[in-house]
Amino acid sequence: MMKNKQRSGRLVPAPGCPSVHPVSSEPVVPDVHKTIKAAFEAFDYESNNRVDVREIGTIIYSLGCFPTQADLHDLIAEVEDQTGYINLEKFLPAMTKVLMEHKFPSVPEDLLLQAFEVLDKENKGYLEPEQLAKYMTQEGELFTQEEMDEMLTALADHENNRVYYKDLLNQWTIDPDM
């Protein structure tokens, strides 16, 4: 699905986004609402239209958006209440706006490859796990140790102690349906 992205900014919405009729590539609002609600409900354990603020990121990502942490922080500040929960009431309009305006569009995957190549200064085609860990936990929007461990478990070639990032790309971008 990533392959369909064009630089012009007219994106074919990623899977999980509201159903789009190719005739007009604008999502239909009632459908958007339904999609947002479905994602929200997956985390609404008590069926009272509230989710824990810590789960909102997962919801937003799963709706096909690609925000940075800072973006998320801003959006959450807009919709959260004092109790550490987010109500559907507030979330729905804010999220609808995000989706209708394609506020957090994805970036093409070849940029991801280039990002890795930036880190792979010697052009080896792979990174050492410690190297990658250092970048991820010390630069940018830092990973927690838990995130780092999970990533390395999944990715590292444990025999040779290398992370072949091209394989990683395949994994992260062949993302069936959701």
Binding site: G140, E141, E147, E150
Partner: protein, 778 residues
């Protein structure tokens, strides 16, 4: 779950959103560029993980929905059975013979249960363990080694083991009291469901049962898993070896009628062809003799399911627990209490008549899919169907069952109940009879106390209401818990009964600082810290990892010492030699869940198509996504996110609408059933398991064969239960189209095998033309 807390200020200006790298910049990246690269990678990874998490959740929802829907079916059937068994000697048109056969309860009243196992010879060639009683550590070690080695314990020793266990259990009270002052920490385990690997893993990690390592196993040792016999034999062996350090609670699956459906009976009959029946009989006795509760230090109550607002521990400790053989055999009701003549109602076959109106309720993954229904409508009587599309006149249809909610008491103190239950609707042939609920006599009250303990689930809302999803027990709220704990000076309720992704879950706790913590971190130390700040009153502990599928969930156990602070230990059995990544696990689980879901689609095809066609009057084969989702939910009532699942289940037409015939092209019956009408076939597919139970009951000697006459009777009885009109000729045609032994008897295993749904992509001989809906290999 990831955290928002760690991020630097990485705000990009909007112009910077698409940043391009040139060759120069890559070779000698500036710090700013390095940071941007890192951010991009982090974003991608987080999004990927979030999507994976979403898929995992939906997969979980599918599994749970189907599981609980299945349990509900089970209860309905059992209710029907109990009713028939207890009250009728004749059914119109069905003759007395069948019923009197069924009347002989599955509990065959053997006069002499103390079987002379000594008479059973053990051949020289038997290389398994030869137990000597009283058991010693070498016996239990021999059992462990043998079971690890896939050996089967000889029937003679199984019987002897059960016999000795029965003797021991007879001496035990209903509620067993333990003290931490004489022991080290007590380990508490939840459902095992025949998973030997999990039990062995627990023993490995935590130690074998002994004075230093006492255990409480909280029920559901059998069913579903393939090694129930091994699990339960080990548990009983340790019980005999260390009666002071090994404690077993009864679970709702320690019940012979549940075993008929969920696999234990079959496992016994397969592994013990000669003596299986005797073994099952003894198991029945032993199960009903298991204590129903354990209390530690007078402070921690451990029961399998939960409690209700009627739970009375003092009363519970006085009852004769072994009399409640099965939760699914309701206490006898006398004929006078039936009011058949006056209020028989024709059963309407509407697709919407599942108990309760689910459309009002949202999903609550945490408490499973067993939602508390605030407005429970005995929908057999009502024709309120939220589905406008499928109230078909389906005399040849299998209509969804009407509820046979035969709980003998109305649910009392639930303010949200809009009416008092003063009439029970009971299916009788193709009608419904109104039965006034009797005033609960003694054995009814006993039955209810036990069933509540074994079947109830906690919920977040206050109050107590009947657990209509399960069909037995209650949903109990935090107020019910609080009251019971207070009343008996308890501080904590530990229960099992529900599968949890992390192997455990806390609920009914107080809030601290305005935020309730539902999940605790995995780390044990943190768990301790969090517990001090927040006191849960109910802990669910579940010890069968990978319950739904490889990777679906962890298992866990609790250790509790003198300070009575529970600590959680998690694990997950992994069969693959190579550790599966999270992605792989999610994919496997998802594939499995989707298969199960597609089977449901297939077995409801007629209703689904009928509903869809109402939106597609021009027969284009397409409906909008909305319409598609709506029909699917109203027919299947699984409360699943259909839109999100749609890509796995149906193809889109070029104009973006759903090509709905594509939903069904992936599956077919195992044997082509051209002679059988589609409706009949669907009935058989859908109720395959139920039919199997009926066959098993009729087949008293567990030979796997029943006569053609019995087969016909069975079918008539069952179709009466379903309200389906099926004539003999259709049945005979059906029988002929499957290869039967020509000796007047039917191998019903073979018969039922025909009604297994086959996924075309599994069938390697089949040519798969192109990509079918949802058929992508993941």
């Amino acid at each position: 779950m990831w955290h928002l807390c760690c991020y630097g200020d990485t705000r990009e200006t909007s112009g910077d959103r698409f940043f391009l790298f040139t060759d120069d910049t890559i070779k000698s990246p500036s710090p700013a560029l390095t940071m941007k690269a890192a951010v991009l990678i982090q974003r991608w990874y987080r999004r990927y993980m979030a999507r994976l998490e979403m898929r995992r959740r939906y997969t979980w929802n599918i599994f749970q929905s189907i599981e609980y829907a299945g349990e509900q079916d089970q209860l309905q059937l059992s209710g029907f059975f109990s009713f028939m068994l207890d009250n009728f000697t004749q059914l119109n048109g069905n003759g007395p013979d069948l019923i009197s056969q069924l009347l002989e309860p599955v509990v065959d009243p053997w006069l002499d249960r103390e079987i002379c196992y000594n008479l059973i010879p053990v051949p020289e060639s038997y290389t398994g363990p030869r137990l000597s009683f009283p058991l010693s550590v070498s016996d239990t070690n021999a059992l462990l080694a043998a079971f690890k080695d896939q050996q089967i314990l000889h029937a003679r020793y199984v019987l002897q083991l059960l016999y000795e266990t029965k003797k021991l259990l007879k001496q035990m009270p209903n509620i067993v009291h333990l003290s931490t002052s004489y022991t080290n920490e007590i380990t508490i385990c939840g459902d095992l469901h025949g998973r030997l690997d999990d039990l062995l893993l627990i023993f490995y990690k935590n130690g074998l049962p002994s004075a230093e390592t006492p255990y409480v196993f909280n029920g559901d040792f059998v069913d579903r898993g393939k090694k129930s016999i091994e699990v339960v034999c080990l548990l009983f062996a340790y019980l005999l070896l260390y009666p002071d350090y090994m404690h077993l609670n009864r679970g709702n699956h320690e019940d012979h009628i549940m075993n008929l459906r969920y696999g234990f009976t079959k496992e016994v009959m397969q592994k013990y062809k000669t003596h299986g029946r005797e073994i099952l009989q003894l198991f029945q006795d032993v199960f009903s003799l298991l204590p129903v509760a354990t209390v530690i230090d007078g402070k921690i109550l451990i029961v399998h399911g939960g409690i209700s607002d009627q739970t009375d521990l003092d009363f519970l400790s006085t009852i004769e627990r072994h009399k409640v053989k099965s939760a699914l055999r309701f206490p006898r009701r006398s004929l006078e209490q039936l009011d058949i003549g006056h209020s028989c109602k024709r059963m309407r076959s509407t697709s919407g008549s599942r108990p309760g109106s689910r459309s009002k309720n949202k999903r609550t993954p945490n408490q499973g899919r067993r939602r508390c229904r605030n407005s429970r409508q005995d929908s057999a009587a009502s024709t309120s169907s939220s589905s406008s599309s499928s109230s078909s006149s389906s005399s040849s249809f299998c209509s969804p069952r009407t509820p046979s909610c035969l709980s003998p008491r109305p649910c009392p103190s639930s303010p949200s109940m809009p009416y008092a239950v003063n009439v029970l609707q009971v299916p009788y042939l193709d009608s419904l009879c109104s039965v006034p609920p009797p005033a609960p006599p003694q054995h009814d009250r006993e039955w209810k106390q036990v069933v509540d303990i074994l079947w109830s689930d906690p919920k977040t809302h206050e109050g107590c209401s009947p657990n209509t999803f399960r069909g037995g027990g209650c949903y109990f709220g935090p107020d019910v818990t609080r009251r019971l704990l207070l009343q008996h000076g308890l501080q904590l309720l530990i229960r099992s009964h529900e599968c949890k992704q992390e192997g455990y879950e806390l609920c009914h706790g107080g809030q601290v600082g305005g935020r309730a913590f539902r999940f605790l971190p995995i780390n044990v130390l943190s768990a301790q810290v969090c517990l001090c700040a927040f006191a849960p009153q109910v802990i669910t502990i579940f010890s069968a990892s990978n319950y739904y599928e490889e990777g679906s969930n962890r298992g866990a156990y609790i250790k509790v010492g003198r300070e009575l602070l529970p600590r959680f230990y998690q694990y997950q059995v992994s069969r693959a030699t190579r550790k599966l990544t999270l992605t792989q696990r999610v994919r496997v689980a998802e594939g499995s869940a989707l298969k199960a879901l597609k089977e449901k689609l297939f077995t409801h095809r007629s209703e689904l198509l009928s509903g869809l066609q109402q939106y597609d009057l021009n027969n284009t084969g397409c409906v909008s996504v909305s319409e598609w989702a709506q029909v699917f939910e109203s027919v299947l009532r699984l409360d699943l996110p259909w839109r999100t699942l749609r890509p796995h289940l149906a193809r889109l037409a070029p104009d973006g609408s759903v090509d709905y015939p594509s939903c069904f092209e992936d599956m077919e019956p195992r044997i082509p059933l051209s002679q059988v009408t589609p409706n009949l076939a669907e009935t058989l597919f859908r109720y395959r398991t139920d039919i199997e139970i009926i066959f098993n009951i009729i087949d008293k000697d567990h030979s796997g064969l029943i006569s053609i006459e019995e087969f016909r009777h069975t079918w008539r009885l069952f179709s009466a239960h379903l309200g389906v009109d099926i004539d003999d000729r259709a049945i005979d045609d059906l029988a002929r189209s499957i290869d039967f032994n020509k000796d007047g008897s039917i191998d019903f295993t073979e018969f039922l095998e025909a009604f297994r749904v086959v996924h075309k992509l599994d069938n390697k001989e089949q040519q798969v033309n192109g990509k079918t809906a949802g058929g992508k290999a993941l």
